[in-house]
Amino acid sequence: MRALFAALLAVATGIALAFLLLPIAAIFLRVPPGDLVGALGHNVTRDALLVSIKTSAVAHAVVLLIGTPAAYLLARRRFRGRGVVLTLIELPLVLPPAVAGIALFAAFGRMGLLGDELDALGVQIPFTQAAVVLAVAFVESPFYFRGAIAAFEAVDGTLVDAARTLGAGPARVFARVALPLAAGGLGAASALALARGLGEFGATIIFAGSLQGVTQTLPLAIYAQFEQDFDTALAISALFIVVGALLLVTLKLYGWLRFASIFRSRFAASTSS
């Protein structure tokens, strides 16, 4: 009975791993690596890569710049309705990306909520690179918010108190104490959000379309090449896997190094005293 149960667990684990890893392995097994690298030289791929890097960089910079102070405020202040605000921030996480695309249309489209105002300013957002930036920022920011709020909440409040009794005003407390101490968590949240933004598909294709060299990001290029040139689609997918794996390894390594350094210093302190 015991052996049977153990075997059952092992089989379930085996199936799960195979199911998750087999498709990923298949991408690399179907086409020789040389051809994969070659396919990255296609102008469709190059254009998509440039669009992705440009839009992701802008979107991510905006998310960090606005999200970090906002997360700090939400982590430190206790006010009525805080729970509601935190839940609303997470709402986009559980929405299908297509809904995000439609929602952005409803807000910033010509017929949308702010359509007249934007029209008056001569600004048209849908199907431009700005639309890609908005779509990417919209779907990735909840990931950053969640992680950043948790990172700031984890900063010991006594250290903030100590900084204040040492004459530091709120801005200095933020820059010299909260930010450096939350840096690890902020970095992890930032990496996660960046990965989510790079992979953004649904909201972008609805709100920004898939125009090569303008709004066609890497995931959209995969979809476009899927029927025309399967090898290119594979090559871009392979690129994503490599970038994703590097990101994960960096995060794990960082977590492990942090743990190791804490462990080492604790150990050193306990033996020296």
């Binding site: 010991d156 006594t158 250290l159 108190d161 100590a162 900084a163 204040r164 009794t165 040492l166 004459g167 530091a168 005003g169 010299r176 104490v177 450096p180 101490l181 804490i262 210093s265 604790r266 050193a268 302190a269 020296s272 005293s273």
Partner: protein
């Protein structure tokens, strides 16, 4: 030198902290059980907690005045705060911690003998070293008031004595109004000029350590100062003495006057022990079985069922005391204080 004055009321969970205190260039210790509101006093002075009523001032500077809506921010009050567990910035080294407030750290590192640790991170320091860094950091901006929250609690027993002596010298040298919070009466007595016993937000007694020991205001203060507190019933005895019936059959005598329910206070170091009932001038002899023996430095605390005696380690050795053996505890009627029961 400016003196610190406070008279405040601060609502805490379960009770209101009510405290009026004036401290000149001296160390005042606030002692009491945990949850008595001791730390809240320090936080209110530093501006980290806001009292509901009252005033806090330092010299001619008003830091808080509820009626006049004055409430200076923590960074605008000149306090040096040594936090419980020290709250050193873990990402900064010793030098950066000390100079966080903007002052040059060299002289303080030298004064506290931690120059050699300038580049070390807090996680690499021992408890005693961390305490010095916390002190140096708190003093770096030349504060007008020093606040110390359980500065000895994070230390292991064998560094405690040495650190206490150093802290004592430093506090004398600084001659600042210093408020020290501790749950340990011995630390308070060793470091402070005056000791206040705070229970559930109220000051039960404030005075020099010797005053608290010699004339405790109530049984709680006496117990906190380390005394045996025995409950019983007092009545008029022979020769102007008071006869005190312990809850049980035993009788002891005191030179203090009391009638009815009362508490008898006798310090462990005023109790002597003998193998046989002694025929000496002490009026009070109580027989009992030893519950436990604990050595504290060169002294031994001997616990009997009704009281604790503190004798020298050499006496304990000479008498060859062991747990469960029967001994006679003696103390003089002049050393037995009587207080109204709680």
């Amino acid at each position: 030198m400016a003196s610190l004055r406070l008279d405040l009321s601060l609502p805490l969970r379960g009770f209101d902290l009510e405290l009026a205190l004036e401290a000149g260039p001296e160390t005042v210790a606030l002692v009491g059980p945990s949850g008595a509101g001791k730390t809240s006093v320090l936080r209110a002075i530093a501006g980290l907690a806001r009292p509901a009523r009252g005033t806090i001032s330092c010299g001619d500077e008003i830091w808080f005045d509820a009626d006049r809506r004055v409430d200076r921010r923590p960074e605008e009050r000149s306090v040096g705060f040594v936090f419980q567990e020290y709250a050193l910035f873990p990402h900064l080294n010793v030098e950066q911690n000390v100079s966080f407030g903007g002052a040059r750290p060299d002289r303080l590192l030298w004064r506290l003998s931690i120059e050699h640790l300038a580049k070390a991170k807090p996680s690499e320091l021992s408890g005693g070293e961390r305490q010095r860094v916390a002190l140096a950091r708190a003093l770096a901006r030349g504060p007008r008031v020093l606040l110390l929250d359980e500065p000895m609690a994070a230390l292991d027993p064998h560094t405690r004595g040495k650190v206490r002596a150093e802290l004592h010298d430093l506090l004398r040298e600084l001659a600042l109004p210093a408020l020290l919070v501790t749950h340990d009466f011995e630390d308070a007595a060793a470091l402070a000029d005056r000791v206040g016993v705070l229970v559930e937000g109220r000051l039960r007694q404030l005075g020099a350590p010797a005053e608290l020991l010699g004339a405790p205001a109530d049984p709680f203060v006496a117990e906190f100062a380390g005394a045996n507190v025995l409950e019983g019933i007092a009545e008029s005895g022979p020769d102007g003495l008071t006869r005190f019936h312990l809850d049980g059959e035993r009788i002891v005598y005191s030179t203090d006057e009391a009638r009815g329910r009362a508490a008898l206070v006798v310090y462990p170091w005023d109790v002597s022990l003998a193998r046989r009932a002694a025929e000496d001038s002490a009026l009070n002899h109580l027989e009992g079985e030893i519950v436990s023996l604990v050595q504290v430095g060169n002294r031994v605390r001997v616990r009997l069922p009704f009281l604790t005696a503190e004798i020298t380690a050499s006496s304990a050795e000479r008498l060859a005391l062991r747990p469960r053996e029967v001994v006679f505890a003696s103390f003089k009627a002049t050393q037995a204080r009587l207080l109204p029961a709680d």
